[in-house]
């Protein structure tokens, strides 16, 4: 058992003098209350975007993906750009819940539930792009290796595109299981305090009959820890494998060994930016300021400036290698198709540089990291930048490759490509609004677990211990009562 005492230098993770019941009240209140007007407005906008996307996809299936502006060499355009963009966003949730759990970062408890939900919805959006890009989507099951009557003809296990199927599929499944197993105790909390029959019944089903038994908690802890251990390499592997889609090809601008770490850093970067966007909205709409504190926002901004700078180093390394390799195709791609502002797509490269590398540097200043408006603005800028990055990588490498005679005309999307993309926004936010209304957006049980160590009220009461000499502190038994009992029960 850990000591209850935590240094006063650390900011409290839960503001206000709360007790356990107050935590339940605060987090369950939005579920039990009627949704606000703002919620309805947001939800209807999301649903209309989703419907537009559904129509765009309906047209894709009916007329084929010829209605997109993909052309002879730009075979991947907005669709794969958006796929990589959404998968990248889907990396923050599992990073927060898994890697930060292993690193014992207490602040994850305030944001992990919503971040994991975001991950799942982002991966759902990402999955749409390769699926509908197949064109004949009714053949989509061909990507699975199963004994068939065509030989049997198997999938190519040596292909990164198949690795992607496994990586994204596993990532989605494991994230979903991790998220839902964490939700069980919180659903039970909602169930046990429900005051309508319907709510009691539905949350009763959702909570799987959770009672809070000590043995179940013991297994639950073991499960969370192992799932975190499994998800940590998993989250790194997924974007690594996505980067292999490019890196194992021989297209100039793609064929680089720096891709896996560069993609993973970029994924975390954009994922945290999306978490910031959503967290700032949640804490405002549902008055969760006590749980998602400015300290949480600051911690995530630190991750953003770190990963943004890693991505910046990667961009510069690529430029350097474009020159140093003395490969004229590499050199042309990096120094003409990308870095030259006056080349056809130069604007996207410099847009990316400005959004991803330059602007996050503002977070070296503590005042800026703790400024909510700056954070919100920056979180959107970063995601625009990360979209540009994927667009730059895909389109500027494809539109002019080895043979000038096959250089394509300028690629710009049709309304149906754009519609598909906005449709995934609709899907994402529809899911997110439903989640925010019907699910506990903050992990109730986990907040209660850290409450007495790091809650504002409890820290205040422990303030006087700062001045107690070490010898007195260690012998006075502060926080030791439990340890002794623990030991006694073993003995």
């Amino acid at each position: 058992m850990h000591l209850k005492y935590e240094s006063q230098l650390r900011e409290p993770l839960v503001n206000g003098d709360k007790n356990y019941h107050q935590v339940t009240e605060d987090i369950v209140r939005p579920i039990e209350a009627k949704p606000t007007k703002l919620w309805y407005v947001g939800f209807y906008i999301a649903v209309s975007l989703l419907l537009f996307g559904v129509y765009a996809i309906y047209r894709d299936v009916t007329y084929g993906i010829g209605q997109w502006n993909l052309n002879k060499t730009v075979g991947w355009g907005w669709d794969i750009t958006n796929f990589v963009w959404w998968v990248g966003i889907g990396h923050a949730g599992t990073l927060i819940s898994a890697i930060l759990l292993l690193f014992r970062q207490g602040w994850r408890t305030g944001v992990n539930r919503a971040a994991e939900a975001m991950t799942i919805f982002a991966v759902m959006c990402a999955g749409q792009f390769p699926i509908w890009h197949m064109g004949r989507v009714w053949m989509a099951f061909f990507v699975f290796p199963y004994p068939n009557s065509r030989g049997p003809l198997w999938v190519n296990f040596n292909s990164p595109l198949l690795w992607d199927v496994f990586a994204i599929g596993t990532y989605f499944t494991v994230s979903l299981l991790f998220w839902y197993s964490g939700l069980l105790p919180d659903f039970a909390t909602v169930r046990d305090r429900a005051f309508t029959k319907l709510r009691k019944r539905l949350y009763g089903i959702a909570a799987f009959g959770w009672t809070g038994s000590t043995k179940h908690w013991q297994r639950h802890e073991s499960l969370s820890l192992v799932l975190a251990g499994l998800s940590t390499p998993l989250v790194l592997s997924v974007h690594t494998i996505v980067s292999f889609d490019f890196a194992t090809s021989v297209i100039p601008g793609w064929h680089t060994t720096i891709f896996p770490p560069y993609f993973v850093a970029g994924a975390i970067f954009s994922g945290f930016a999306m978490v910031q966007t959503l967290m700032l909205m949640i804490r405002k709409i549902f008055s969760m300021e006590d749980y998602i504190t400015v300290g949480h926002i600051e911690a995530m901004n630190k991750v953003i400036v770190l990963t943004g700078s890693i991505v910046g180093v990667a961009y510069l390394t690529e430029l350097f290698m474009g020159w140093y390799s003395q490969n004229k195709y590499e050199g042309y791609t990096f120094w003409y198709s990308r870095a030259n502002l006056f080349s056809p797509y130069g604007w996207s490269y410099w847009g990316m540089m400005a959004c991803n590398v330059l602007s996050p540097q503002i977070f070296w200043f503590r005042k800026m990291r703790r400024n909510l408006f700056v954070t919100f603005f920056m979180s959107i800028i970063v995601n625009i930048g990360m979209w540009f990055e994927r667009f730059v990588i895909i389109v500027t490498s494809l539109y002019r490759d080895y043979l000038p005679s096959s250089w394509s005309v300028y690629y710009s999307p049709t309304i149906w490509e754009i519609g598909f993309y906005t449709g995934t926004f609709g899907l994402f936010f529809t899911c997110f609004f439903l989640f925010a209304k019907y699910f506990p957006v903050i992990a109730i049980a986990e907040i209660k677990y850290v409450l007495k160590t790091t809650g504002d009220g409890y820290k205040d009461k422990m303030g006087h211990l700062e001045h107690v000499p070490v010898e007195v502190f260690t012998h006075s038994g502060h926080g030791h009562t439990i340890v002794e009992n623990d030991a006694a029960s073993h003995g």
């Binding site: 019941h21 198997w154 596993t170």
Partner: protein
């Protein structure tokens, strides 16, 4: 399942709970279970529960995933349908590592979650007896099983002296059954909350 008689003591602070658990166990009572709103570390040891083996099961599932991936892919690519891909070796182990890794994680995670639900008897539509509705909110609910020789009233008093804020006696069924929760008492009945 047969109904049993239980004495229930509710505590509102885990720091009172731990000494109480010790007292109750020293006095020789059999603690059926303690229901808590969150994972109280060390409580499993205090109750004398053995460590869970769930992680071992997870390891076994993971190894199963690894072997499944490697054996399937190698059989397919070297025996069933050796495909010539750019003249590269049929047995291309490095190229199989991503899928092998993913299947290891997938098998371990899915297997562990299913095992967790199975051994903890958690599933949709499952219903269990809940000794106190606030056990998922802010109470630590200690449940003691009565034997023929237990004097329930004495035990209640004993629990109260150990710091329980609420005590009562319940006749309840152990285990689980299929059922719904909407027939249970509504703690927040008729409560109206307006603003979000």
């Amino acid at each position: 399942m047969a109904k049993k008689k239980f004495v229930v003591g509710c505590f509102n602070d885990e720091e009172v709970l731990f000494p109480a658990v010790k007292k109750v166990r020293t006095a020789g009572y059999k603690i059926h279970d303690v229901y808590t709103p969150f994972a109280v570390h060390g409580l499993d040891h205090a109750l004398g529960l053995r460590e869970t083996s769930l992680h071992t099961a997870g390891f076994i599932y993971g190894v199963t995933g690894t072997t499944t991936a490697l054996s399937c892919i190698s059989w397919i690519f070297t025996k069933d349908w050796p495909l010539n891909i750019g003249g590269k070796p049929h047995f291309a182990l490095p190229a199989w590592i991503p899928i092998t890794f993913e299947l290891t994680v997938l098998f371990a995670a899915v297997g562990m979650v299913l095992t967790f639900c199975y051994i903890s008897q958690l599933a949709p539509f499952v219903k269990k007896h809940h000794f106190h509705a606030r056990a998922t909110d802010d109470l630590f609910v200690m449940v003691i099983e009565c034997t023929d020789t237990t004097n329930a009233e004495d035990l209640k008093a004993f629990l109260a002296s150990a710091g329980a804020v609420e005590t009562d006696i319940q006749i309840a069924e152990e285990g689980w059954w299929f059922g719904r929760y909407d027939k249970d008492e509504m703690r927040f009945e008729n409560k109206q909350i307006v603003a979000a």
